[in-house]
Symmetry: C2
Subunit: 184 residues, 2 copies
DNA sequence: CCAGAGGTGAACAGATCGGTAAATGTTGAG
DNA sequence: CTCAACATTTACCGATCTGTTCACCTCTGG
């Protein structure tokens, strides 16, 4: 299987898992929707869990790339970027097919802390907060670590409520709280 | 089946769904762990989804009762109660078997907005925010509605991060943000 | 032309899924 | 004691689950 085909397989599997959930999406459906036979899939991924891990790696990379780039496009100071994150989130909430955070859902469906999927989901959040902390440091925040963690809480809360309420309002609400935090 | 037995069935099913997830918990396991035969279960709940709805009703009632009572015990002003919510959350995060919010997980596993389970999960959040808004009004907040929504974001973010990180830190971090909001 | 690599569909394990049928307790009221 | 109403056990249904096997197809390099 070429690198392209493999990437395409992971990309399409991502959409299926994102839309239907992990347990609720069978490998027969993955094979059918990707156009790759189950035999081939299992030649490249020993188990369903390994495919899910590959999907999460793709999601981690593409989501972080998208979010960080969008933050840079929307503002040119570190402080402005942290605030602009919530504008970027609002754009995401408005997208067709927005269904919440894939990593929160992965963590919810694979709760065992020893599970590689659970660990990888939290690793994504740690990478986000690390970036926030770097920006907070550049912005000369009093306590960059604490500020980054607080912004993470706001971001996750906004995503969860946006997904559950099927509205985008949470982005603005979270942004107004972030405004308080960054004003100091 | 007596009311006691029925309540006990729902209570034990709740633990199973909470610990293992909804899709990942089969009705055979529910029957085995509750000691109630599958035949009997299906005499009282037409489908698995109906059992899940009953479980969510129990969870909604008992969680709200617990949270609101704890908030009252920890503070005697409306403003203090809203802040004390995060101390109550920290207690919850420290409990053995804490696995995040059951309603977030229900919403993640049943994403269809037309699904009764999805609707009921969000209804729980609306009831919480209504209570927050009532307290915010009593506390004479400038914009009780907005404040209640912001506190909800903080609460949900804290729960998600506490569950994913397997630590309790998020409660204090959220509380310090809430402190900013309530100081105004 | 041929060997080998890699792909395919289809059938197949063996387990489990949600849900049901029928026969066998068990129990309490008259 | 008797009978009706209930609960239970046991087996079963068809569908689906993850994962494998197998016979076949197709392409490529030598």
């Amino acid at each position: 299987m070429s690198q392209n085909k493999r990437a395409e397989l992971i990309r399409k599997a991502l959409l299926l898992f994102y839309r239907n959930g992990f347990h609720a999406t069978g490998m027969d459906l993955v094979a059918k929707e990707t156009g790759v036979s189950k035999t081939s899939i299992y030649k490249h991924f020993r188990t369903k869990d390994e495919l899910i891990l590959a999907v999460l790696r793709l999601r981690d990379e593409s989501f972080r790339n998208w979010l960080f780039r969008r933050m840079e496009e929307l503002a040119d100071t570190p402080q402005g970027q942290l605030l602009a994150m919530f504008d970027a989130l609002e754009e995401w909430f408005l997208e067709d097919g927005f269904q919440g955070c894939m990593f929160i859902k992965a963590s919810a469906e694979f709760q065992d802390p020893n599970d590689a999927i659970n660990a990888q989901a939290y690793a994504h959040k740690r990478m986000l907060v690390d970036h926030f902390e770097a920006l907070a440091t550049q912005a000369k925040a009093d306590d960059p670590h604490a500020l980054a963690r607080q912004l993470l809480l706001l971001k996750e809360g906004a995503i969860v409520i946006a997904a559950m309420s099927h509205t985008k309002d949470a982005a603005r609400e979270a942004k107004s709280v972030a405004n308080h935090l960054l004003a100091n």
